[in-house]
Every structure is written in structure tokens, then in C-alpha cells.
Amino acid sequence: MIIRVVLPAHLRTLAHVDGEVKLDVEGVATSRAVLDALEACYPMLRGTIRDHVTQQRRAFVRFFACEQDLSHEPPDAPLPDAVATGAEPFLVVGAMAGG
């Protein structure tokens, strides 16, 4: 299935991409599967969204989809059907802060 992912501006720059990223994710669409596919396609993003070793989401990064905050969902929880079918994107968001 093709999952649409929207990255924050700094990570789009780092990955040299414009606009949405489209990822072919096998099996059940989960945040872990999406991030695995993302990092496989764009290895420079490893460590910027989740920790290299623990795979914990970085504190100031959030995951949104379908107007829901999925940041605290288990990484193996299925994503909403609308994300799995590509109707809605999976958003990686940098927490709002100034500076």
C-alpha cells in the first residue's frame, strides 16, 4: 500500500524532498512500519524522528493523522484506514516553539 507522509520543513530539506513523501509499506500500516520505510528510503533521517537504539519518538516530534494526535499510540497500533488507503497523510510534526 502507498502511504503518504508529510515531513516538517527541516526534515524535507535534510532528505532533499519537496512536498509529500509516498512510501510503499508492506503489511499492516503502523507508525513503526511507516517510519521503517521512511528511514529505508531516506537514511539521513535516522535518529532525527526517533532514537537510533531505543526507537523512542524524540520528545519534540509528534505524529498526527485524521485530525488526531497519534504520538502516544503504541508503535505497532494500526493507523487509521484513511492513512492506510492513502486518503489522508501521516504527519510528522515538529512541536511548535519559538526561537
Binding site: 532525527t48 537510533h52 524524540r58 516530534v61 516553539a97
Partner: protein, 371 residues
């Protein structure tokens, strides 16, 4: 006439500045890595076009960038910094044990001889090395696992390994400095380490003469005389004539001996530069005047250098990695301020000119000569 390339790290990106040997007109490119904090970038002494940059943010963590063409283009390399073995604990601000946690790379020190070998000083304090051009990083764990490490404590800026000096006459000798632990020396290429803080006196710690716990801000050496070290400590400017075995104060007539950077003239091993600031609680220059102080006697006697620098209404600081000297003759001296100015002196400090005035706050300045 040869030229120079200046590498400037700021709170919001990196800038590369080049000039010919006159150092009068400058081409400025950047910001590279716009919006990210660039704690440090530095070129390889063995290949001036090989650069390494530490790029980080609170949101997205650590990235390492590498250039093979003097900063025209960059590629991301490895950013996996994993402590080797059990991390143990150090002391937290409140005196409780706190597990070691990687935060960022403060300083990158390329090998003197191999462009693919580079050292990284990180927060929480540890030393890493890459031998494949930055693609992979291995900790040299002997420092972090030193017997004193559980008593190390962060300074206000974090517990950072911020200075790495490689001895050109003894390839197996490395000096590091950690805030707020002090100076450590290895004589076996980083396997084992000894604290090198005898003679330091810090009133802000329970035992002012403790073996470790001193907030060393920066150390510097002249490559022709690597057993002589100069130090800017939290308070006090210090000198060692025995490769760190003992230190003595050389603050002399400085208006204040608090500061961050210290550097050595490229051709005169006893000519040193500092930028005093008012105090530990007021991090800006005293009397609203930006003055570099130079000693031509290896310390004790200092002269203010003011020509071309603002002498009123100035409240900037110069951070520990934000001063550099080039190897041309006359020696060029450079520094960047927290107000975003980068100054050059093409006459060893006698007069100064701003290269740029309005960058983001400057964190680091490095320079190397071009063929």
C-alpha cells in the same frame, strides 16, 4: 598569495567566508543548514577541502555533515553516537546520580594527518572517533569510564566535552577538556586518561583544589611547543609548561579573568589572546567595550586591543570555540560574537575590521589557509 577560508557556526546555520591573503575583501556564503544550530565546523589539516560540521536542533537531534569541496556542497554522514557499554551515571545539577545521555556534538577535531579520521567531543561528556570520514562513530570509552566520572557535574551549558587537542609531536597524546570536570590527557591514543588539573583553584566547588570538577572553558597550544598549554577557566587564565601536569595562573593585569576563548599566535608561541567578560553572572564585555587582550610574554602582562572594535554600548560575548588564528604572515586573528559580528585582524590583533555584522549569534569560528 594564498588565501583563507573561515568557517562560522551560528545558532541558525553555518557560513563560509573566503578571502585572499590580504584578508580585506570577503565572499560570504550561507546560511548552510539554515535554521539549525551549528555548534562547530572544522577543516582537515591534511586536506583543506574536507570539512566536517555538527548540525543539531532540540527537535530533530544530531546530524553530521561533510564536505569534500571546501563547503560548496555537503552530504550527511553518520549521526549514530552510542556510548560503548553501560553508561553509568554522573551527578546532576541537584547532586543526584543521572544517567549519561547523548545530547549533541560540541566540537569536531579532524586528525592532523588523515582526512577520514575525526574526533567528536559530545554532551554528555565523551569522546568519539570516526575513521571512515564520519560515516560511523565509535566511543573511546576510557574517558567516560574514568574512576572520577561518576562525580562529574554539568555546567550551566550542559556537561560537554568541548576541547580536543591533538599533539603533533606525539600522535598517541590527546588532551580533552570537559565542563565542569576539567582537563584530561591520554598518552595511549585515547585508551586511558588522567586528570590534569593540579594547580587549578575554583571557589565555586566544595574543594577548590579538587582533582576534578573545574569548569575549564578552553585550552590551547602552539603546535611547535605542545607541552605548553594555555587555559581560560571559568575564572582565571592559566598556563602549564609540563603538558598539563601542573598549572599556574597568568591572569596578571587583565581587567577580569573570566572568559571563554583563548588562542595562540601562529608564529609566536608566547603570544596569546583572550576576550575577558564581566563575570560569571554577566556574560558580556566589561565597561561596554569590546577588547581583545594580548600577551606577548606568555601571560601576566596583557595589552588591550581596541582599534576597530566598538568602545561604547557593547554587550556581546565571545564563546569558547569562536576565536581562531590563521597561519599566514602576518598572523590573522578572528572571532565571532553573540551579537552576530565576525571580526578579522590581519595584523595579529593590532587592528580589527568586521567581516559581517548581522549574523545569528556566533557559536564557533575556525579558519584554514588555502593553497
Amino acid at each position: 598569495m594564498s588565501g583563507v577560508r573561515l568557517l562560522v557556526g551560528t545558532r541558525k546555520g553555518a557560513f563560509v567566508m573566503t578571502s585572499d591573503g590580504t584578508r580585506e575583501r570577503w565572499d560570504v556564503t550561507g546560511p548552510h543548514f539554515a535554521g539549525w544550530e551549528i555548534y562547530h565546523l572544522k577543516g582537515s589539516p591534511a586536506d583543506p577541502n574536507r570539512l566536517y560540521a555538527s548540525q543539531s536542533s532540540s527537535w530533530f537531534g544530531q546530524v553530521i555533515q561533510r564536505s569534500n569541496d571546501g563547503g560548496k556542497t555537503w552530504e550527511t554522514v553518520g549521526n549514530k553516537f552510542v556510548y560503548d557499554g553501560p553508561t553509568g551515571t554522573h551527578l546532576w545539577y541537584d547532586g543526584t546520580p543521572h544517567p549519561w545521555e547523548f545530547e549533541r556534538v560540541w566540537h569536531l577535531e579532524p586528525s592532523l594527518t588523515d582526512p577520514d579520521t575525526v574526533y567528536a567531543g559530545v554532551e554528555d561528556a565523551a569522546l568519539f572517533r570516526s575513521t571512515d570520514g564520519g560515516h560511523t562513530w565509535q566511543e573511546l570509552p576510557g574517558l567516560r569510564t574514568h574512576g572520577s566520572a561518576r562525580s562529574w557535574q554539568p555546567g550551566a551549558g550542559g556537561m560537554c566535552l568541548h576541547t580536543i587537542l591533538l599533539d603533533p609531536s606525539r600522535p598517541e597524546r590527546i588532551f580533552t577538556a570537559i565542563s565542569a570536570a576539567g582537563v584530561f590527557r591520554s598518552d595511549d591514543a585515547g585508551k586511558t586518561w588522567r586528570p590534569m588539573n593540579r594547580g587549578l583553584k575554583s571557589d565555586g566547588i566544595p574543594d577548590p583544589n579538587a582533582e576534578v570538577g573545574h569548569c575549564v572553558h578552553r585550552i590551547a597550544m602552539h603546535r611547535s611547543r605542545p607541552s605548553v598549554l594555555f587555559m581560560q577557566k571559568h575564572w582565571d587564565v592559566m598556563r602549564s609548561d609540563d603538558a598539563g601536569e601542573s598549572w599556574r595562573e597568568i591572569s596578571g593585569n587583565l581587567p577580569t579573568d573570566f572568559g571563554f576563548p583563548i588562542d595562540v599566535h601562529a608564529h609566536e608561541p608566547d603570544t596569546i589572546y583572550v576576550v575577558p567578560i564581566k563575570s560569571d553572572s554577566e556574560h558580556y564585555v566589561p565597561d561596554a567595550r569590546l577588547r581583545v587582550y594580548r600577551s606577548r610574554t606568555g601571560g601576566h602582562e596583557w595589552e588591550p586591543l581596541t582599534k576597530g572594535l566598538p568602545q561604547r554600548d557593547c554587550y556581546v560575548n565571545v564563546l569558547r570555540d569562536a576565536m581562531a588564528v590563521d597561519s599566514l604572515d602576518p598572523c590573522g586573528v578572528y572571532f565571532g560574537t553573540t551579537g552576530g559580528q565576525v571580526y578579522v585582524s590581519a595584523d595579529a590583533g593590532n587592528s580589527w575590521t568586521p567581516i559581517v555584522r548581522d549574523l545569528p549569534s556566533v557559536v564557533s569560528v575556525e579558519v584554514h589557509a588555502l593553497p
